[in-house]
């Protein structure tokens, strides 16, 4: 009872201290933060003559809107540039496997590192965490050579080239490899915190590691998996470098900017389409996303 009262007191003090100036400043900053995006949003609905002859803020006094930009950018190609709907499809074809594969592999490894008893467990964990030190840029050239030519030592072929260049496979593999260190780290943090008694009880009941994983670990890890899935999804969706390097003509949304050059009406509509999916995902799953970001970075 006493404790409860104390908590309420603090609450009262806090509310008392909630200064209207602080709130006001926060709201002003948030508004300033949103203006650039809002400007893009408004512009994407304006006819091209309007965009190029007056600022987007003039629409409040002189409203004029159209959907043409969206229909043009989505369904009409220009020369060698396919319409955006094609890019969209490519992006999904890249993003979905690039999310599923690394998470599956990472959760296996996270479980192994957290609950198998083997020598060098800690060392392995820190090594994987430290692998984040390797910038993507360092892997690009060797990986590209590997995907296109395979691996040979002298005349001996260690890994054949498989002929996968020009397909989506190199992009999936690259995203999988680059996503693994963080995925293993975050998922490990979660799995390692599951109660020891639970796992030991299951072991005593005769469950082997495979059953244990399938029946206990996996169902319990759903929140962690979901939060990292969102993370990886946004990351691959927004990626440009990997797609540019390994894409070989497979075009992604991120790439379209270069091809839409100076046409603001198409550029803005295209950009808005490309940010719509991640922003929708973010708002729908915001709580998981934030939780996922926090895993490991803040001690609870």
């Amino acid at each position: 009872m006493a404790r409860k009262l104390r908590k309420r007191d603090v609450e009262v003090v806090k509310t008392h201290l909630s200064s209207p100036w602080a709130s006001f400043t926060a709201i002003v900053i948030a508004t300033l933060w949103t203006i650039p995006t809002f400007g893009l949003f408004v512009t994407s609905f304006r006819p091209s003559t309007g965009i190029n002859s007056s600022g987007w803020w003039t629409v409040f006094t002189n409203p004029e809107f159209t959907f043409t930009n969206y229909t043009r950018v989505l369904f009409e190609g220009r020369g060698a540039t396919p319409p955006l709907s094609q890019y969209f499809l490519n992006t999904f074809a890249i993003v979905i496997p690039s999310t599923i594969i690394p998470i599956t592999i990472a959760i296996f490894a996270a479980y192994a590192i957290a609950w198998f008893n083997f020598k060098g467990r800690n060392f392995l964990f820190f090594t994987i965490f430290a692998l984040q030190v390797i910038p993507l840029q360092m892997s690009l050239i060797p990986l590209l050579q590997l995907f296109s030519g395979g691996l040979h030592i002298g005349s001996f072929t260690v890994i054949p080239s498989f002929g996968i260049t020009g397909t989506f496979i190199p992009i999936w593999l690259a995203h999988t490899m680059f996503g693994l260190p963080l995925a293993i780290f975050l998922l490990h943090n979660f799995i390692a915190q599951l109660p020891r008694e639970l796992i030991e009880a299951a072991r005593v009941d005769g469950a082997d590691h495979f059953k244990l994983f399938r029946q206990i670990i996996l169902p319990l890890s759903v929140p962690a998996i979901a939060s990292f899935a969102i993370f990886q999804f946004l990351w691959t969706w927004n990626d440009l470098l990997v797609a540019l390097t390994f894409g070989g003509g497979k075009r992604e949304l991120a790439e379209m900017t270069g091809t839409r050059g100076g046409d603001w009406e198409l550029l803005t509509a295209g950009a808005f389409v490309s940010i719509l999916v991640p922003v929708a995902v973010f708002f729908a799953l915001q709580r998981y996303f934030v939780r996922g970001l926090l895993a490991g970075s803040v001690k609870g």
Partner: protein, 333 residues
């Protein structure tokens, strides 16, 4: 007629892509399921060995092929010529530290490394503190965090539009920055061409994105400060600023450092913003972008690799620091 045919082939392409995608996922799922089903039927002896193969080996193989081996290969390539055929000693590194353009690139990267993390973390901390005592902080926080979900490329377009400049003096400005400058009586200019201002304008875009991340993490850390401590400082009559600088900041010092170093690593690797907004021209290029240019435009794997190694050396101390921190935290548990 041609149009209909084109539409049809587009549709066919779409269908084949979707089938390929579904098949891939099904095959992957089936492989995992089969591996599990078979493994569960083996005896305990086999499993003792098999569990490592199934759970750990895939990740280790991927990490080795994707990160460890390429790191060594890049190191090797950085001492070879453009096609990797002949050894050139330290020439590529000498080139990186003497070529005036590359020195610009290194200097820009340095500016990014210092300004971007401090600004992002500063703004993040400010907003975290301001919203901490707010009654309904949800909307404010969401709006600030939203750029995190927007791609760097999308953000690049958004800000390119803000920085847009109209060369014709009589025509009205369509870029917000130019217009605001005009309202305040300045003469707008082609912002992205002005050095060194343009590098800072690009950093603004990055800060705009990363502040949300800093805010979320710092806000959680501030929430975790025990009420009693704040209460005590209030009873002592500490003012708002004193409470912030003497209580809040020291209490979340560890988190601030994690946020700073995470954002610094991000700033070191920044590529998309520069590619979208200036293409690295007008003296705005950074290592990550120049490395791409050298390798895939100039087709010089030697210099490209040397730049990648320099980038690696820049990130190394930060991650090392984090590893040390992590070790300490884990041994405390």
């Amino acid at each position: 007629m041609i149009e209909i045919a084109a539409r049809q082939s587009q549709l066919e392409q779409a269908v084949s892509k979707l089938t390929g995608l579904t098949l891939t996922i099904l095959i992957f799922g089936a492989l995992v399921a089969i591996a599990f089903a078979l493994s569960e039927r083996t005896g305990e002896r086999v499993q003792r060995f098999l569990k490592y193969v199934i759970f750990l080996a895939p990740a280790l193989i991927f990490l080795f092929i994707g990160l460890v081996a390429p790191a060594f290969r890049t190191l090797y390539l950085s001492f070879r010529d453009a096609r990797g055929n002949e050894s050139v000693g330290w020439e590529n590194y000498q080139w990186a530290f003497t070529q005036p353009e590359i020195l610009d690139v290194l200097r820009n990267t340095g500016v990014w490394m210092i300004v971007a993390p401090i600004a992002s973390t500063g703004f993040g901390l400010l907003i975290a503190v301001l919203t901490d005592r707010m009654r309904r902080p949800g909307l404010v926080k969401s709006l600030i965090f939203m750029p995190m979900a927007i791609s760097f490329v999308g953000a690049g377009i958004i800000w390119k539009f803000v920085y847009q400049f109209e060369p014709n003096e009589r025509a009205p400005e369509i870029g917000l920055l130019s217009q605001v400058a005009e309202w305040f009586g300045f003469v707008p200019t082609n912002w992205l061409l002005v050095n060194p201002l343009n590098t800072f304008l690009l950093i603004v875009v990055f800060v705009w994105i990363q502040t949300g991340f800093a805010m979320v993490v710092l806000s959680a850390a501030i929430k975790a400060i025990p009420d009693e401590i704040l209460e005590a400082s209030m009873l002592d009559g500490a003012s708002g600023w004193k409470r912030f600088s003497r209580v809040t900041v020291p209490m979340i010092r560890g988190t601030i450092i994690v946020v700073l170093s995470t954002i610094t690593i991000g700033a070191l690797k920044v590529f998309d913003i520069i590619r979208t907004m200036t293409g690295g021209n007008f003296k705005t290029s950074v290592i990550a972008n120049e490395m791409y240019n050298q390798s895939f435009r100039a087709l010089n794997y030697g210099t490209g690799s040397a730049l990648a190694i320099i980038l690696f050396l820049g990130v190394l101390p930060l991650v090392a620091y984090n590893v040390v921190n992590l070790r300490r935290e884990r041994s405390e548990r």
